[in-house]
Amino acid sequence: MEVQVLYNVFHHESVSMLIAIYFHIVGLHAGCSIVSITATLLGKSEYKPVAKIGAIFVIILFSISPIFLMADLFQPLRFWYLFIYFNPTSPLSWGTFILCAYPIFTGMYIYFLFKNNVKWSKIFGVISLPTAIGVHGYTGFVLGFAKARVLWNTAVMPSYFLASAMISGMAFMLIVALIRYRFTYQDKSPEEREKDLNIIDLLAKWMAGFMIMNVFYVFSDLTVMYYHTEDAFETVELVRIGKFGFLYIWVDNVFGNVVPALIILFKKTRKSHLLLLIAAILASIGVFIMRYVMVFGGQYVPLS
């Protein structure tokens, strides 16, 4: 039976590139702050530089991220309606309030961290950790609640987004830590160098752990979609061998997750800082490509 569509209407895609960039930036700073807070809560003094590196980037990245959200609105001057009309079933409403609570608590945490006030930085760390998780977790729910698109409407989406946020945040911090080490190691005593190397090692190991988790999420998501409806067949074929296949499988998963994880897991390659830098850059590119494929691949399959 041959079929051919003679006339149909497609409305242009609803979630734009700005939102993909926003997802990436919010993932970056949520990852940075989760790592920073965890390092503080663990309470070992050698993790302190990690916490400080993370905290600085949280401030920088957070200050630019809402611009993308505002620019995406078709009525940007009405953004304050989000505060006065609350809809408890909408994840965008949750996100509004998480996005407001997050800078307050994290700001207090960063203030006490730089004041070297261990007790209060731990207290505000505990308070701001859920908001830091929520500030990226809600974006996963935003995509997960859009029931029209099978690529988004999966239960794994929030945790998948969180795992990739951790990867991007850690990769960013790893790049900064490597650059910092490269430019400052000549002035330091051997013990301090040893500390810096330990931090780099630790970050890399945790990043590899989240990469393995991410690959597992991708595997379970794609395989479950093969056993799902017709839309799901088409979408999973689209991101596996179709238009987004190269980006999603090769750039994101193979070169963004598997290769860097292998580089880190082998002890010989982990000692090479050049390879570590390459791994971190690959991971950052991979996570951005993942956001891109999620946003545009999800909207590629027609609904009408």
């Binding site: 569509v5 009309y85 809809n87 061998i241 009408s304």
Partner: protein, 221 residues
Amino acid sequence: MVIDLRRCVGCHACQVACKAEHEVPLGVWRIWVRVMQKGTYPEMATLSLPWDCPYCERPEEARYPRMQTLFLPWLCNQCGRPICNTVCPVKAAYTREDGIVMIDPHRCIGCNYCRAACPYNVRFVNPITGMIQKCDFCVHRVDTGLLPACVETCPTGAMVFGNLKDPSSKVAQLLSKERVQVLKQMMATFPHVYYIGLDKDVADPLKGWEKHGYHIEFEKY
């Protein structure tokens, strides 16, 4: 609303009436008629346009018993459980007491989330005003006792509009005696636009779309 597809002739009059009634800009539509050919004519898949006519050489193969054209007026389904209302962050999307799903233009911030979540792809951004819009069954006409513009203009009477809860209305009678279908029932949106004589191929958005090769072995049957 009940749409009797056995009567639909694919004249696109509803589409034009809607454009005129609501001053819908170019490129976006509140209602459109999806047109699809299906049949066993082998070269049909290579046709790009209906008037690009290689079957003039073998006219006997391209006629009615071997192929037909299907029409499907596609509009907002005015769902009973609308996902757009659920996900709107400012409650700009709401349902009226008579069941019509509306957008409050004074409250909508244009976040596009309802458009992303709608399974029917009926919402669009008005390129002139920057507002999210969709079919609202012409509430301004319905409130004054008139029929929606598309129903008013339908030359064959394929579109029937009325109160489902009133047993004497034509809609309720059609629903009780005919076999009706809705679009995308698995989405659990409980649409209030019912189709009589809906074909599975024209209701499937993926039919006729450029595929990635996975389904070819199943499509032969």
